[in-house]
């Protein structure tokens, strides 16, 4: 798997939109990794004059917000939170979705019926409202937000995985695994799952993007974790100043748009790279 993963990465680099996406994401990762070194005192320091416009004070190249906090520091720390929330929420929903989809698709019958009705039920709830409700009831903390996003986004993965399992479980190689006496768990995770990784990987990049947006939206509505600085938090604090200092909302908005765009570009590129039919046509 490691060698094939390596070659996928290489082909991704050769793909134009994959390359652009990866570059942007690399930048965001760099921002979040270096935030602690460049701004050791954190994003909350009231260091400058409030409402400094970008380019006015060289110490604050992107200006300061209404409380005099450095915009650059906020953006760097925000990158950290947005990425972490996106990745963690995507991971949790991947795990739940894959488990549900694999079990439903492999065993079929009543188990499939029960799990899929549950999935249907989850999908009928408007996901953002559900996230608001969960955060509203349990209270806003980073882990609650992650769980809330994961809970509303796993059904998509579950459907995807189930469809693949339904198809693959009829293949003769799965039958032959049963005939050689292999256990169900080993067939599910060792034999079938590796064959449906491609769509899971593709949709997980979209999943991360959705999670980042959901977190930002929650923060914008004041439902973000008050103890961390995310891009949503910056948006939220910049909102009252929209008319006098629009740059306060523009910077985090641009950061969000670019990141989400990059993730979607990577998703598209992955789709091209991992799609076996296209691959065959090229070779």
């Amino acid at each position: 798997m490691s060698t094939s993963g390596h070659s996928v990465f290489r082909r991704l680099l050769r793909h134009p939109s994959g390359l652009v996406g990866l570059l942007i994401i690399a930048l965001v990762v760099l921002m979040s990794a270096s935030a602690g070194f460049i701004f050791p005192e954190g994003p909350w320091v009231l260091g400058g004059r409030p409402r400094t416009w970008p380019g006015v004070d060289p110490a604050f190249p992107l200006g300061t917000d209404a409380l005099g906090r450095d915009m650059v520091a906020a953006l760097f720390y925000g990158a950290r939170v947005s990425l972490a929330v996106g990745a963690a929420a995507a991971l949790v929903s991947l795990v739940i979705g894959t488990l549900v989809g694999a079990i439903a698709g492999y065993y079929g019958g009543w188990l499939d019926d029960v799990l899929m009705r549950l999935t249907d039920a989850m999908q009928t709830i408007p996901s953002f409202l559900a996230a608001i409700a969960i955060v509203g009831v349990v209270g806003a903390s980073l882990s609650t937000i992650i769980i809330a996003i994961a809970v509303v986004s796993w059904p998509m993965i579950a459907r995807l995985v189930r469809a693949d399992f339904l198809r693959l479980r009829t293949y003769d190689f799965v039958q032959s695994c049963k005939i050689i006496g292999m256990s169900d768990l080993r067939i599910i995770f060792g034999q079938i799952l590796p064959n449906c990784l491609a769509p899971i990987i593709v949709s997980s990049s979209v999943l991360v993007a959705t999670a980042i947006i959901t977190e930002a939206s929650l923060a914008f509505l004041g439902l973000g974790d008050p103890n961390v600085m995310s891009w949503g938090t910056i948006l939220s604090t910049g909102r009252p100043e929209l008319r006098s200092g629009w740059y306060m909302t523009a910077f985090p908005a641009v950061a969000l748009v670019l990141t989400v765009l990059a993730l979607n570009l990577i998703g598209d590129a992955l789709n091209d790279v991992l799609n076996p039919r296209l691959k065959e046509r090229k070779s």
Binding site: D172, I180, G181
Partner: protein, 325 residues
């Protein structure tokens, strides 16, 4: 002679929306060690369902089934025991191999599941198996999509042989292959049988192929065996009208194409099979009795058994048992 496979009144019914589907409807047969039993019939006749029962993919509704002394069961020990008694080779050589695993890994998989030997021992065993089926070291690190259809089928056979089973079920194992490759694989099956004293249940819709590899042939129609006996007896005497139609349908004989009575229509649905003799709706010799009584297999000499009320009428003088014997 030891019986490697023995079934008695084996039945497999499925419940469908339209009613009970009788996929296998009372099959009794046995195969001796080192023997090949060919099973022919058209799609929907139940030959693949019978195969699924034998290898344990489906649990029979009733009847007895014994493979190399093992009777089916649900426990892990039973599953492992059966896997060592019977293995299967499938029709589609590309669907039968996991596209994500290398050839070496695919062949090794059964050994890993059964915890055979150390990693090094298993590797040696894989190399030996590959060589046995005519693959070289070159093929071992490859992936299925890098191989030709014939080579993939060899990988399938190597995997099936890994556990040293007594019985190999070949379900249309050469049907998807081109003629020239088909011959290679058929020859391989025959030489493996001699070398390893293997027993085959060889399933195909192709009567010529079945006749070539089999010692005995069983003809199935709508879940039942309608004729069974030594291969040449079945092929030449074909006392059941259905067997006769199958022989006549082998393309190639101009005269048959022009004159021979071909069967009308299609195989009826196994959900609502005709009463009495299931073949009567397509049989050119149907009489009243056929609708009333179910014909059972009867001995007609030289080991040939036929399930037809009027089989004696179809005996041609030149094929009389004494003449043939």
């Amino acid at each position: 002679m030891t019986q490697v496979l023995r079934t008695e009144d084996l039945r497999l019914y499925h419940n469908t929306a339209r009613g009970q589907l009788r996929a296998v409807d009372g099959v009794s047969l046995s195969i001796a060690r080192g023997e090949t039993l060919g099973l022919v019939g058209e799609s929907g006749c139940g030959k693949s369902s019978l195969a699924k029962c034998v290898v344990g993919l489906d649990a029979p509704t009733s009847g007895t089934l014994e493979v190399a002394g093992v009777t089916p069961g649900k426990s892990r020990a039973m599953r492992i025991a059966r896997a060592q008694a019977v293995q299967m080779v499938f029709q589609d050589p590309s669907g039968a191999l996991n596209p994500r695993l290398s050839v070496a890994r695919i062949i090794e998989e059964p050994l890993r599941v059964h915890g055979t030997g150390t990693a090094a021992e298993r590797r040696a065993q894989v190399a030996e198996l590959a060589q046995k089926v005519g693959l070289s070291d070159y093929h071992l690190p490859r992936f299925p999509h890098e191989l030709s259809g014939g080579q993939r089928q060899r990988v399938s056979i190597a995997r099936a042989l890994a556990l040293n089973p007594a019985l190999l079920v070949c379900d249309e194992a050469v049907s998807a292959l081109d003629v020239s490759v088909q011959a290679q694989v058929l020859n391989l099956f025959i030489s493996l049988q001699k070398e390893l004293d293997l027993t085959y249940l060889f399933i195909s819709h192709d009567l010529s192929v079945v006749r070539y590899v089999s010692h005995r042939i069983a003809v199935m129609y709508l879940g039942r065996i309608v004729e069974i006996g030594p291969a040449e007896e079945v092929f030449h005497r074909h006392l059941h009208p259905y067997t006769r139609a199958l022989v006549a349908a082998i393309p190639g004989d101009e005269a048959l194409g022009e004159e021979a009575a071909l069967l009308e229509g299609d195989v009826p649905s196994p959900v609502n099979p005709p009463s009495g003799c299931a073949f009567r709706t397509r049989c050119p010799h149907t009489r009243e009795r056929c609708a009333a009584d179910v014909p059972h297999l009867r001995d007609l000499g030289n080991g040939l058994q036929v399930a037809c009320h009027f089989a004696e009428e179809f005996i041609r003088p030149e094929d009389m048992p004494q003449a043939a014997g």
